[in-house]
Symmetry: D2
Subunit: 80 residues, 4 copies
């Protein structure tokens, strides 16, 4: 069994209001020095069998189709 | 400047319907062998100055308060 | 064609840190008097054909299985 | 006290992979006839005092700043 982590974040040029809210709340709660927060998604994908190149390409295709919208989001795969 | 990544996932014993939906869709789209998907959140937190132990403890407190609900979620900090 | 909106919110007794962050940010941005924010999910489901009782029961089952985790979340259906 | 619900949905022209995953899972689980699912966010905002026009304009500004990214998302306010 293999596990692939897929991190999905809004592209850097796209404003993230949820992250802004967290920055805004930090000061009020006494957490000083937080300059930016970006909120994204993290998917843990478990796959049976061995993770060869063909399977990893499948997971990449899966990420592009069901996990991220490549027009507004960037994603990264990490094998754990 | 330092960057801390905070990964937030539902506790393993809590069902994740969104993840289930992705597993369900995989078969139909021809992605075979995906046995589980869990969806969580990923936060990228940027902090000015140096990240000593006191500051890291601050980020941990921030995560517990504003990023995760420790009753239903686990979280992990990674310094990048 | 029919459209059903499914609103999914964390149960009232479960803390919502994301909502807390928004309350925290309000004061700082000059929005006074916001006492609570809760963040949930909203799904718009489109169904072909007529929406009789049997179909609505299907959508309810769908919501319980793929849209909400009834252990930690409440959900409501509205036909639009 | 007043409550305003803010519904935030991706703009119709922006693909929603999470919604696609749910449609994909429906067939496999025997829910027939689901043609589209879109996933968005729902915020319940509670405000002290009366909700006159000035306050409602404040909530609208709050929604534009902290709840939605107007470049990629549409939002709607409903007073409950």
């Amino acid at each position: 069994m293999a596990r692939v982590v897929v991190d999905v974040m809004l592209k850097p040029e796209i404003l993230d209001p949820q992250g802004q809210a967290i920055v805004g709340a930090c000061g009020r709660l006494g957490f000083e020095g937080v300059t930016q927060v970006r909120q994204g998604k993290r998917f843990e994908v478990e796959i049976e069998g061995e993770l060869d190149d063909a399977r990893l390409a499948d997971v990449r295709r899966l990420a592009e189709t069901l996990l991220a919208n490549p027009v507004i989001e960037d994603f990264e795969l990490r094998v754990e």
